[in-house]
C-alpha cells in the first residue's frame, strides 16, 4: 500500500511538473522588424538619395558645361587640352579611345568603360544644383529626347553610369572615390522616385 502511495505521488508530481512546463505562457522570443511601409523611402527622400549620387564628381565630371571634361575628385580640367570635339568623344585623331578602353587600366590608372565619352552639351550639369540637374535630366529638350523610362534605364543600367561604382585606381594607384550611396540603394531610390511620378521637390 505504501509502495502504491509513493508511485501515485510520484506520478502526480510528474504530472504537475509537465503542466508547469507546458502550460505556462512562454515569453515571446522574436525580433520586431519594420514593415515595408516603415522602411520605404518617401519620394522626396528617394530624390535626395538619387541626387546625392548624380551631383557627385564621378557623374558631373562627364557632364561639363564648358566642353572640357573634368578629372579627379577636385574636378580639374582634363589634362592635355582634351575637349569635347564634334561627337562628344574628343578630336579627330586624339579622342577618348586613344587612352580610355572599355575597362579600367590598372597599370596606367586610366579609367575605362564601354562608350567612354562626354554627355552631350545639352546635358550639361556642371554648376547646376540638384534640382536644376533633375529638371534638365527629365526635360526631353535637354536629355536627348529620352522618355522617363529611357532615363530610368540610363540611370540604372548604362554601363558607363555604373562605372562610377567601380572607378578603379588613379595614376598614383589610389582608389578613386565612388559615389556616396551604394549601388543597390541608389538603384532602389531611382526606381522609387520614378515609380512615384518623378516629382522634383520644391527647392
Amino acid at each position: 500500500m505504501k509502495t502504491q502511495s509513493i508511485l501515485f505521488l510520484s506520478l502526480f508530481l510528474v504530472a504537475v511538473l509537465l503542466w508547469a512546463t507546458t502550460g505556462r505562457p512562454i515569453a515571446p522570443i522574436y525580433i520586431e522588424v519594420p514593415t515595408d511601409e516603415e522602411t520605404a523611402l518617401s519620394s522626396e527622400e528617394a530624390f535626395h538619395k538619387m541626387m546625392d549620387v548624380l551631383t557627385h564628381e564621378r557623374c558631373v565630371n562627364c557632364h561639363p558645361s564648358d566642353n572640357v571634361p573634368k578629372q579627379g575628385d577636385d574636378s580639374h580640367p582634363h589634362y592635355f587640352g582634351i575637349g569635347r570635339g564634334e561627337h562628344n568623344s574628343g578630336y579627330q585623331a586624339t579622342n577618348c579611345t586613344t587612352c580610355h578602353q572599355t575597362e579600367n587600366n590598372p597599370y596606367s590608372g586610366v579609367p575605362g568603360a564601354p562608350e567612354w565619352s562626354l554627355a552631350p552639351h545639352s546635358m550639361r550639369w556642371e554648376g547646376l544644383n540638384r534640382f536644376e540637374i533633375a529638371e534638365s535630366m527629365m526635360d526631353p529638350e535637354r536629355n536627348g529626347g529620352r522618355t522617363p523610362e529611357e532615363t530610368l534605364h540610363h540611370l540604372t543600367e548604362h554601363e558607363l553610369v555604373l562605372w562610377a561604382w567601380t572607378p578603379g585606381v588613379d595614376a598614383e594607384g589610389n582608389l578613386r572615390e565612388p559615389p556616396p550611396v551604394p549601388l543597390d540603394e541608389y538603384r532602389g531610390a531611382v526606381e522609387k522616385w520614378f515609380e512615384e511620378g518623378h516629382k522634383i521637390p520644391s527647392k
Binding site: 589634362y79 592635355f80 587640352g81 582634351i82 575637349g83 570635339g85 578630336y91 579627330q92 585623331a93 586624339t94 579611345t97 586613344t98 587612352c99 578602353q101 572599355t102 575597362e103 587600366n105 590598372p106 597599370y107 596606367s108 590608372g109 586610366v110 595614376a171
Partner: protein
C-alpha cells in the same frame, strides 16, 4: 593565354599570363620592336603611341587582350629608310628631332592625324598632337606636320596619275 594579332603586316601569336599587360611591353620585349618608347606609363606623354586598326592609341595603357585579331602598326612598319612615310620624310627635311626619344610617338600621332585630317590647321594640330617633347621641338614639328600634309598630297596625286 594566347593572343593573335598582326604587327606591321606580320601575324604573331603571343602567350602571356597577364592579359592586362600593356601592349607596349609585348611589342618591345616579346616582339623586340624597340621603336615604340616608354615615357610615363600613364597615357600622358604619348611616347608609346602606335596604331591599332589605324587608330592612334597609347600602348602603355592598352591591355594586350584588346588587340586580339587586330592590326598593329609601329614606327618600324610606317616606312623605312628607302621608302619613308611622308611624315618621316617631313621629319627629316625639317630636322625635327633633338634627343629623339619622343619622336616615334609624335610621328605615329601625326600619321594618324593626316589620315583623318589631310590638311590640318594649327588648331587641328593643337587639338590632336598633344604628346610631350622635353626638348621643345614643337615649333619644328608644326612645320613638319604641314610639310607632311604636302608630301602626302603629292604622293596621292602621283598615285592617281599612275592609275
Amino acid at each position: 593565354m594566347s593572343i593573335s594579332f598582326k604587327v606591321n603586316g606580320e601575324s604573331h601569336t603571343v602567350k602571356i599570363d597577364d592579359v592586362n599587360t600593356p601592349l607596349l611591353w609585348v611589342v618591345r620585349d616579346i616582339l623586340n620592336l624597340k621603336g615604340t618608347k616608354f615615357g610615363c606609363g600613364k597615357a600622358a606623354c604619348g611616347a608609346c603611341t602606335l596604331h591599332v586598326d589605324g587608330e592612334a592609341v597609347r600602348s602603355c595603357s592598352y591591355a594586350v587582350k584588346f588587340v586580339e585579331g587586330k592590326e598593329v602598326t609601329t614606327i618600324e612598319g610606317l616606312g623605312n629608310k628607302e621608302n619613308p612615310h611622308p611624315v618621316q620624310q617631313a621629319w627629316i627635311e625639317e630636322v625635327v628631332p633633338q634627343c629623339g626619344y619622343c619622336q616615334p610617338g609624335f610621328i605615329m600621332a601625326t600619321a594618324a592625324l593626316l589620315k583623318k585630317v589631310p590638311y590640318p590647321t594649327d588648331e587641328d594640330i593643337d587639338n590632336n598632337i598633344i604628346n610631350v617633347c622635353r626638348c621643345g621641338t614643337y615649333y619644328r614639328m608644326r612645320k613638319a606636320i604641314k610639310r607632311a600634309a604636302e608630301l602626302s598630297s603629292e604622293n596621292m596625286e602621283t598615285e592617281t596619275q599612275k592609275s
